[in-house]
């Protein structure tokens, strides 16, 4: 009997699903858009782009890192006030989810620990999704507001199955032993 089950328990090597989930989580946490048609002569400039806001409420764009109307910032982290505390917490949760996903994809250790990390990362993303869904429902029920779901929300929903599948694959291999 070979030790295939031990070497294939999913705890060794590189795990692509949590890695992609981690990269996506960090991208949504730091970037405002996905550049399309990158323009070589002026490094880093794009001809067009896909904005990754989570929600658009009455011409206000809600990102993970803040709220903007396209001209000015409605919230930012330059002042440590009670108002900026909650958005900051959401941002920290998202960044933690991204880092946990990356750590869970690369480190070789006990499969249970890796699974816990990836599941914790998935839980963090679900918390953020619940927050934005609550916000959406609140403003949707308010007839005077126009609410649109942004592309960033779909990216958040995409990250969760990446993490869950990534954790599930480790469980399967571990149970074969």
């Amino acid at each position: 009997m070979t030790n295939n089950a031990e070497s294939d328990n999913g705890s060794k090597g590189f795990r692509i699903l949590p890695f992609v989930g981690g990269i996506l989580a960090l991208y949504v946490s730091f970037f405002a858009l996905i550049p399309l048609g990158l323009f070589a002569p002026l490094f880093g400039t794009s001809l067009t782009d896909l904005s990754i806001e989570i929600l658009v409420i009455d011409d206000l764009y809600f990102f993970i890192w803040g709220i903007t109307d396209g001209v000015t910032m409605a919230t930012d982290f330059s002042t440590f006030t009670l108002e900026s505390l909650f958005p900051m917490l959401i941002w920290i949760i998202m960044v933690s989810a991204g880092i946990l996903g990356l750590v869970g994809s690369a480190y070789n250790e006990d499969p249970k620990k890796i699974k816990k990390k990836i599941k914790l990362a998935a839980l963090f993303i679900i918390i953020v999704i619940i927050f934005y869904v609550s916000l959406y429902i609140f403003y949707y029920l308010d007839d005077s507001s126009v609410v649109i779901i942004g592309f960033g929300f779909y990216i958040l929903c995409l990250i969760v199955p990446f993490y869950i599948l990534g954790a599930h694959r480790i469980t399967d291999y571990h149970e074969i032993e």
Partner: protein, 171 residues
């Protein structure tokens, strides 16, 4: 565990040592820019923002050395220890020997020294922080920036790294 916390602490220290902001809302118009960011100043007083590496007065940024003799003291007491602390924290996190643990200990002590120097200077005149006067204790909370809080966080994380650092095991 020590390695992971130590690396995160080292990276945070690196950011505070050399960066003005952590960029958020990165866009790709006319090069790579950001819409906003988390400013990493230690203190903001009288429209001067003081960082570990220098100051920004409105739009103009200055490194400590440009301030003359006072700036050299600021460099020696604030920036240099913070850079050394960053290097020691990162190298100590990757090392499992007693040397690595000592490096992390020295790093934490240096960070505490930087914190004490900046706090005392803030309250006594701001000479080495490049600000124009002492900050009253009532205005202190509103003047302190994310860089100051990150420094405290790095000290706390450094202590955790020390406690969970594996000792030298020779077999």
């Amino acid at each position: 565990m020590a390695i992971k916390i130590g690396i995160i602490t080292g990276i945070l220290l690196f950011l505070v040592d050399f960066f003005a902001i952590i960029p958020l809302g990165i866009v790709f118009t006319m090069g790579i820019n950001s819409i906003t960011g988390i400013p990493l100043y230690l203190v903001n007083y009288d429209s001067v923002q003081s960082y570990l590496w220098g100051t920004i007065d409105g739009v103009v940024g200055s490194w400590w050395i440009e301030f003359g003799e006072t700036g050299i003291y600021s460099f020696a007491l604030i920036q240099m220890p913070a850079i050394i602390a960053c290097v020691l924290m990162l190298s100590g996190s990757f090392s499992k020997s007693e040397k690595g643990k000592k490096g992390i200990l020295v790093s934490v002590i240096m960070l505490i020294m930087v914190l004490v120097v900046t706090t005392i200077d803030m309250l006594l005149g701001g000479k080495y922080l490049g600000i124009s006067g002492a900050i009253a204790t009532t205005d202190l909370l509103s003047a302190l920036g994310m860089g100051y809080y990150l420094l405290i966080a790095c000290i706390v994380l450094g202590i955790f790294t020390l406690k969970s650092h594996p000792d030298n095991v020779t077999e």
